[in-house]
């Protein structure tokens, strides 16, 4: 296990590389997920406003 973590002395390099990759790739999926929710919210808001305007 410690051999796994230490990576033959290159721990800093290997883990920072994998760390950056994990961060970037997670963000790359998180962003569209959050945008999706936001888009749905905005569209339903606009539709409700539109219906309200029509009823006036």
């Amino acid at each position: 296990m410690s051999q796994f973590l230490e990576m033959g002395g290159y721990a800093f390099y290997v883990w920072s590389a994998y760390g950056v990759s994990t961060l970037v790739l997670c963000y790359g999926l998180l962003r569209p997920y959050l945008d999706h929710k936001k888009t749905l919210r905005e569209i339903s808001l606009k539709r409700r406003q539109h219906k309200r305007d029509l009823n006036d």
Partner: protein, 246 residues
Amino acid sequence: MIMKWLHKFSSPPYFYALSGKLIKWLSVLLVAFLAAGLYGGLVLAPADYQQGDSFRIIYVHVPAAWMSLFIYMVMAVSGTIALVWRIKLAEIVSVCSPPIGAGFTFLALVTGSIWGKPMWGTWWVWDARLTSELILLFLYLGLIGLYTAIEDKRTASRSVAILALVGVVNIPIIHYSVEWWNTLHQGPTVTKFDKPSIHIDMLIPLLNMAIAFKLYFAIALLMRSRNELLQREQNGRWVEEVLEGK
């Protein structure tokens, strides 16, 4: 038959529903291939006799670099289809790809730099491959900027498609740069016409990670395309049904 399927496929509500299901399945596959690739790369593969364990960075660096080129080609091809045949879905694909491509290019550059420090003794060197990959990042950023700056989405998409096409020349330059110029960067070991000159135990995790990254691209692209589709078709009736379904 194919035309009928294509027609059905490019109808927005059908694509929206299908992509939703597809994302779930692809995610399962992604986890599987990631697990296989990471376990194979970080644990199973033997340490390199020259570089020790630092070579394991290859399992994120190389797939990321491959994706940076692959995504550009996908973007350029779908952009051409959108320009010539005016297929909406192709337009959306070409417009949603640049951010993902930029992410992978950034990763390729950063992981490459981190790998370069113990291997070459320097964080950066201005050789042909690194420089042309950096230029690729600028290209992606320029495409993203161009799309966000133009108000009308149809015009913006077509401008992006044109610029993407003009920039295609950079791709062969990146790929063949290590053969055409004397560079510090290692030459091709997998994508040559010979047998790959890398040990099979080291190769398999690499291929697993490559597949995993492609699955990731598909998932991210589908997610972004659905958003883009929703935004463009806000007033469509199928969108209302989607909202009610949620």
